[in-house]
Amino acid sequence: MSSDKEATIDHPDFEAVIGLEVHAQLQTKTKAFAAVESEYGEAPNTQLTPLCLGHPGTLPQVNEELIHYTVKMGLATGCDIAKRSIFARKNYFYPDLPKGYQISQYETPICFDGEIEITLPTYKKRIGLTRIHMEEDSGKSLHDQDPYHSLIDLNRAGSSLIEIVSEPDIRTPQEAYAYLTRIRQIVQYLDICDGNMEEGSLRCDANVSVRPRGQKAFGTRTELKNMNSFRNVEKAIQYEIDRQIALIQDGGEVMQETLLWDPNAMTTRSMRSKEEAHDYRYFPEPDLPPIVLDEAWLHSVKIALPELPDVRRARFIEQYSLGIDDAMTLTDQRALADYFESLVEASGDAKASSAMVLSNVLRVLNERGWSIEQFPLTSSELAQIIALKRDGKVNSSAQTTLFMELVNRAANSALDPTSKAKGVNIEDLAKELDLIQVSDDSEIEPFVDQVIAQHPEEVARYKEGKTALMGFFMGQVMKVSRGQANPELAQSLLRKKLD
């Protein structure tokens, strides 16, 4: 794989080889093989059909959305798409797998040979994708709800899932992190998965090995599981790399095994050794016919693909004259980019819109832990605030005050449905809050005169050439006008009187 500049990790003598298996839960309306919905957070065991329960005689039906969404992901990551592929059964016993097998794909994944570009602070790199295949999810085993029993929730059983398998091209935990966030970004742009790792709609297992720098052959790998956040993936991989290097340096040998990450203890523990590994006894799923895709359909999916992050970023730079960093921030999440573009459209001012989103909106989202979907103000409301500033009715500090007031009111009204904060006229609100700036010479002049009268010493020094004191006078005018004086007018009046 090419890269502008290879990363160097902490250790000078060893390098890590990392491959990731990412499971993404698709937002198909119904489950992968059963006509029943599956929503996160519903009451346990309420989203079921006899099939989800594994009742005798039930048969799977392929959800066409599952195929469509998977192909979208394949096309967005440069994969080849198999014109004919089959489902396979992966056989293993576990209580949250009622059929005793998972419907998956084995020898013929629907998408293969793709790649994803990741961006790190100092370099870019392409990570190969071995394959993307479709499968059904298992149910959930709950071991901490009852002191004596494990409980099983089968709502998730049979939900649509894709597994995205990378080539062993990743070399550092930071690259793994970048790869994961990139996958999240793509699935969100494609609108096929919400990308939420904490809720389990994105899950990641990592295969990690180390080898002396310069050695071609891979070392013995371990598989890491149970990393339920992006940061945990990074931490667990770093921990495992350090563990393997230390082990080898102590003359030990890495054992092939599956390890569980414990996010509280920040360590891993062994789940099963190579000898205990399952033999899944894959064989072609006899209940489902092969998936055969025709060229015309593939073409229609291709042309309907949404604009992907890279393309959108380039367009933002071009169309809105944004800097590369700002464009990257704004296109990081599709929903934020959508919000920004609707604000540009409503306000007619790309520069003011990007400033508004980058400084005000993102700060509020960070402070309150909101997603852009949870942000309570519409783009047309924000456009009105921008318009007030553009028309000289509020200055920038008043604009921020007004913005925060609207956010607070909207957030409170969301809590209190009887409140009528929404639908308030924003200009009226600005007046009510005394935020409208005075843009009339005759009203500003008394403030200017007052400041000149109160500061004879500074006036004298200014006249001696200390023109930097203009800032001081401006500050004083804003202070006595309680921030309402139009700064441009105030400054020109000051100049007139002092120069």
């Binding site: 006899p50 329960l53 006894r281 064989f283 006899p286």
Partner: protein
Amino acid sequence: MIPSFLSDRKALLEGTTTLLALVQRSLDAIDATNDEVNALIDVYREESLSEAKRIQAKVDKGEAGPLAGAIFSIKDLFAHKNHRLQSASKILDTFTSVYDATVVERILAADGLILGRANQDEFGMGSSNEYSVYGPCKHPEDYQRVPGGSSGGSAASIAAGYCNLSLGSDTGGSVRQPAAFCGIVGLKPSYGRISRYGLAAYASSLDTVGCFGATVEDVAACIEVIAGQDVHDMTTLSTEVPSYLQELQDRDSTTKSLRFGINPSWFSEGLDPEIKHQIEWILDGLKEQGHEVKEIAMPAQSASLSTYYILATAEASSNLARYDGIHAGYRSAQSEGAKLEDVYTLSRSEGFGPEVKRRILLGTYVLSKGYYDAYYGKAQKVRRLIQREYEEAFQQVDAMILPTTPTTAFKAGEKVDDPLSMYLNDIYTLAANLSGITAMSVPIGRHSNGMPIGIQIQTPVSDELGCFQVGTLIENLSSKEKQ
């Protein structure tokens, strides 16, 4: 006298009998012999009487559905809402279905009446109906003998006069073989012709829903209702289902000359000489009527048995994994407090019978890492060879004619401890499942031991009509002999 659906229906529609009388006739027969025959393991008495009244009311108003007058038993592996489904296995102890199989739904919608659940070999695995948690089903004419299997209870329930139609399943011969043993007609439709939705799976790529009746037309009348594409089963065929009865009547008058094929090796070693003789007599009769009979060598068929027992057991090992002691069905009494793996082991060891365990073990083995290519992979290839042989044969002939079984109904206990000799009983039926074609057994007289003999007719995929047509020809020939 074996009750015929179409005769009963005729009498019902003409008003010379009532559905209540037909049900009562069934219940009387059941009361007389079912304790001994053990063909039905559950009889829905109250439900049948109230259903009979409901359907009779429709008959009286002239609104009767196409299966009014049919009294069904269904094999114990069909989902029938709010009724038990046990596949004759301890492992499905206490299990009640929460939904209707597509075939059950279609039967009920057509005013068919389901009288009870029929005995079978556990999960459809067996050829004598001796592997059942309910105890063996016996041949209605000779309690020392077996009715065949696995759908033994279904066949026996018709032969014993308990009902006039029955649903079974045929994965390797489980409809045709008991039909031959019991002297009735049994059809294995083309794979995908009838929805498997609601049929507890044994080997998904081989399983078919089959039907038993006294005559070819009885069976055709049933298939006409239950066949056809189903959204719940993605392996069902989209080809249209003809109106079989109408077509049979229309064609009767204009029967053209047909070409029949026989594979010489089917008639060599291992075949009872009397069965051979009887089939040759039928073939001679067909020739006399102006039909052509030609020999077609089908060498790949000799691998049917080994191919079948690899593919069927592989699929079975996966299909039966769901019976794990955790979800629906039997859980070992020693499970409380046991480790998860022990819950599985105990429940499955106690819940499955010997033949099912044998096939799960065999199937697990052939799918194991390192063995897959040698067994499952190779068997898939041989299966395609067998399919191709049939495709080529049907380029030359309209139907293949062969025995259904190498012997007539054998004695109970004779083969139960010798799996291979039991498996060999299906030697003539397995290839039809492997290739997905249509096949039917039709009775053609009796052996000197008193037991019925069946002949097997095989026609191409989706050509059930051709099978029925040949079946009626042979039925006519056979009844001439009796006169």
